[in-house]
Amino acid sequence: MSQRKRLSNTQSSSQSKRQSGASVAQEENDDTTFTQPSTSQVQRGMQKLTPAQVDQKTAEVVQYFLVKDQKKIPVRRADLVKHVVKEYRTIYPEIMKRASRTFDQVFGLKMIEIDAKNHMYILINKLEPGDGASPIKSPTNPKMGLLFVILSVIFMKGGVVRENLIWNTLKKLRVDPREKHEDFGDVKKVVTDEFVRQRYLEYVRIPHTEPVEHEFRWGQRADVEVSKTKILEFMGQLHEQDPQSWSQQYREAHSVSGSTQPGSSR
């Protein structure tokens, strides 16, 4: 009992490292208290484990990510440590490094930390989408179309829009947030809840508004996944205009040096 008390008092990973055999005390540690182990701690941790064990743990982390990615919900470090890494938390950085390499070399995916403060990770495609349609005719998800429209409007309107603008635009496209849509169901929920949880959009309350209004911005996932240049290209095609005619947006798209930039660009 006293041992556990000591753990909760000090809350340092060096204590927990010594207890690596006794996993009971480990799990008592709340995941919020996870602190990144130092390199020396990692080294010591690695010495106690066989390569096979480390590989196994890495593989588990990779699997966890892949399954979570099916719904495009970001992976929280706390969840990862609590459910997968568990008693191997002392070598957590090493595991993450190996997992990232696996994603890169085996799957062609990039593991990116989109939120450095809350430690959230997502997977994005390493390969840039080619020009023209993909040769693989996988079934398309109409929600992506909806998201694309919303992101385009936000971008073209300077990066922040009030929610009414989005709802009005969607109404013009025969998508009414008050009604159930054939392809999307509860449109409002998809846009304000699902897309937000996936970090494609941000839906924040505007202060001092009565009745309450929100505004939409690009989410952290959109910042790394979506190419502003390509959106501008599409706008050009659609409106039969030169993309450069939208000079401000053009500058914005090209100031991000290429199509993707990890981390939030705000």
């Binding site: 799957f107 992506m144 190419s227």
Partner: protein, 354 residues
């Protein structure tokens, strides 16, 4: 009472005592215009709680109206926002208490937000982006089929009637694929099994029985019927019939013997002939008919008299012999020619029923 309490204010500050008012007013006025009079006699006049309330309610109304008319204030074509600020300044002249000042600050925040938005609008250089135009173009991209003869008006989408194809949003999604670098989601190559528990075996048996039970019952009766039919025809019916023929022929002319061959042969059908031979053999076996040779050594057939049956056991004239009668197509034809048989003595059962 100098301390007036009103409702609805987010910031609740009790009116301070008189001596402090002057100080506060001094502080506030530094931020704005310096037209406020802070003479002591004026303070007494303006301390009327009714007046305070009036000022506060004016502020609140003003803030409400600003928020309601947002869109109007934001349009770049007018200067209404500046007018709002001027109006706010006028209101501020009468402000003395913290509470009113707080409302004024609130109004300023609202106005500032509007100002920021307006500035954003103005800052947009380059081509404008109109969501209406965008929507129109996107609808065409999605394959909107605009009706040519008038608008049905059932859509709220304004002038453009017509209907969208079912894959409209899929087209957009396909186009979006090349702009979004999303990781492909993994799924099992062979798919996963359909996670449903198998139907319990008991149910299966019942289902099977239901499917097959009726059939079994159905086949049984028909089988039985056919069996009985054929059984009968072979054994009793035909034999009886033939016996009837034999007796009737015999009765017509008891003294004249009936030639066996003439009796059994059907000149129209060889198979019938064979059947007749088969049936008459039963008659002979059962002792109902006798076959004997006449003077020309040709076989004849005659029914057995009932009275004579008793003497079979004792009899020397009736010896039970067995022989095999065979007939071939060739023989059949020869006999027909030799005997010149034109009609069958034994009528086939179908024609009999007519």
């Amino acid at each position: 009472m100098k301390k007036a309490k009103g409702g609805g204010d987010a910031l609740r500050q009790n009116d301070s005592a008189d001596p402090r008012k002057g100080e506060q007013q001094q502080q506030q006025s530094d931020g704005y215009d310096g037209d406020c009079d802070f003479a002591a006699d004026l303070q007494d006049e303006n301390n009327d709680p009714g007046l305070r309330r009036e000022i506060r309610s004016k502020y609140r109304d003003f803030i409400d109206s600003v928020q309601q008319n947002r869109e109007e204030l934001l349009t770049p074509s007018n200067n209404k926002l500046s007018e709002v600020l001027e109006e706010a300044n006028k209101l501020f002249k009468d402000v003395q208490n913290v509470r009113e000042a707080a409302l004024d600050a609130h109004l300023l925040v609202v106005a500032t937000n509007l100002g920021k938005e307006k500035a954003n609008q103005l800052a947009a250089e380059g081509a404008a982006f109109d969501t209406t135009v965008f929507a129109e173009r996107l609808l065409s991209f999605m394959g909107l089929n605009r009706l040519e003869d008038g608008e049905d008006g059932q859509q709220s989408g304004g002038a453009a009637g017509g209907y969208l194809p079912p894959d409209a949003w899929h087209r957009v999604a396909r186009r979006a694929e090349s702009c979004i670098q999303a990781a492909p989601t993994f799924n099992y190559m062979m798919g996963s099994f359909h996670a449903e528990p198998p139907p319990p075996p008991a149910k299966r048996k019942i289902e099977w029985r239901k499917a097959h039970g009726k059939e079994a019952e159905r086949t049984m009766p028909t089988q039985l019927k056919t069996m009985e039919g054929s059984h009968q025809e072979v054994t009793e019916k035909d034999v009886e019939r033939i016996l009837g023929y034999l007796k009737s022929y015999h009765q017509d002319d008891p003294t004249s013997p009936i030639s066996y061959y003439e009796f059994v042969i059907d000149p129209n059908s060889f198979s019938r002939t064979v059947e007749n031979i088969f049936h008459t053999s039963f008659l002979v076996r059962d002792g109902l008919a006798q076959v004997y040779m006449d003077d020309d050594k040709l076989p004849c057939i005659a029914p057995v008299e009932e009275g004579e049956e008793g003497e079979v056991g004792a009899g020397e004239s009736f010896s039970k012999n067995q022989c095999i009668v065979s007939i071939s197509l060739k023989t059949w034809k020869e006999i027909i020619e030799a005997y010149d048989i034109k009609d069958a003595m034994i009528q086939p059962p179908n024609t009999q029923n007519e």
